[in-house]
Symmetry: C2
Subunit: 203 residues, 2 copies
């Protein structure tokens, strides 16, 4: 864990910004160099090629992001608390990096196999744990039975999709940037309610 040289750090920050915004094919090495305030040749000195640079940035972003997302589901909390925790974590993470989901899904499409290998999916048997919790609650008569994949995809959908559809959402409902983010902030409370109400058995 050695401290990166100043130049390398500047390259990383610039490359992240450009790649996330424009994608691999849309980004220009010159653009990255300019933003980093260095020469184009330096990019090749530190990373041999554009592809290698992209790969490095991608790995780093995924390494930050994916554990945060899945980590929130791995705890021993009861299911409703887990949902609250997850929704909070993921909306917070995406509020600071709103372009990340589109970037990730693009790379996912271009390179599904490598991607799935790179990211540690289902750490610590998280999915099995949630599945068990859902079954318990259903048998206790608290919720209707629901497959774990349905439960997870509904939750992820409601948290992440609005960031992907942000410009369309803003166009349709005539909301500015600040309003969009305040709506997402409120959704930290409302999404867990939608989720639990959609499966809870009322007495």
């Amino acid at each position: 864990m050695t401290k990166d040289s100043n130049t390398e750090q500047k390259i990383k920050e610039a490359a992240e910004q450009i790649f996330v915004k424009k994608g691999l094919t849309g980004a220009r090495m010159q653009e990255i160099a300019d933003l980093a305030g260095i020469n184009k040749a330096m990019l090749h000195y530190y990373y041999r090629s554009k592809d290698k640079l992209f790969e490095a940035i991608f790995i780093e972003l995924i390494g930050d992001f994916v554990p945060k997302i899945f980590g929130a589901m791995g705890s021993d909390l009861p299911i409703d608390k887990k949902v609250e925790h997850y929704v909070n974590e993921i909306i917070s993470a995406m509020t600071t990096h709103p372009e990340l989901p589109l970037f990730i899904f693009n790379e996912l499409r271009n390179n599904p196999k490598e991607f799935i290998n790179k990211m540690g999916i289902n750490p610590g048997g998280m999915l099995e744990k949630i599945d068990a919790q859902l079954k318990e609650e259903a048998e206790a008569g608290n919720i209707r039975p629901i497959p774990v994949h349905e439960f997870m995809i509904n939750m992820a959908s409601m948290c992440v999709f609005p960031f992907l559809a942000k410009p369309m959402f803003q166009g349709m409902f005539k909301v500015d940037e600040a309003t969009f983010y305040s709506i997402m902030e409120m959704r930290k409370k409302s999404i867990p309610e939608y989720i639990m109400n959609s499966i809870r058995v009322k007495n």
Copy 2:
């Protein structure tokens, strides 16, 4: 509405396929020509430039897609039937064009203004109509009050997001292509239930 020449039709089909899969910057004119089984120069003969070709394809795709999606919400059906109708329409549309949402959201990001103008959003005061219906149902004590943007984004999220996250979903839950689509087929029934249960007041 003149019948397109055979060549032009082949160009359109090839360009659609390549652009949808790789985006504007990722696509290569040579690639499109090869797939169409014609020469690269022909692309410039029919459409002056790569940008113009892309624009033409984009407009056509949007023209097919957006009205279908919003149309489903403009009827005079009661709200629960409307949801069923919408969910069916959109999942069916995306099952035949699974790459379309990512393509659209990419272009949205690159060109938000033109996009919003191009697509006829909120046709026929659809949003106001739905908003009124939600308010009526809430006043009648049938559902909890919910802002129309929350209602719409939740519904769209659960329908569209799984297609965006398809490779990740398949990786996490170990499902093949056929299984993925059969899950989405089943979601035509379950999503309307989640939606309505999440806001319905039980007696």
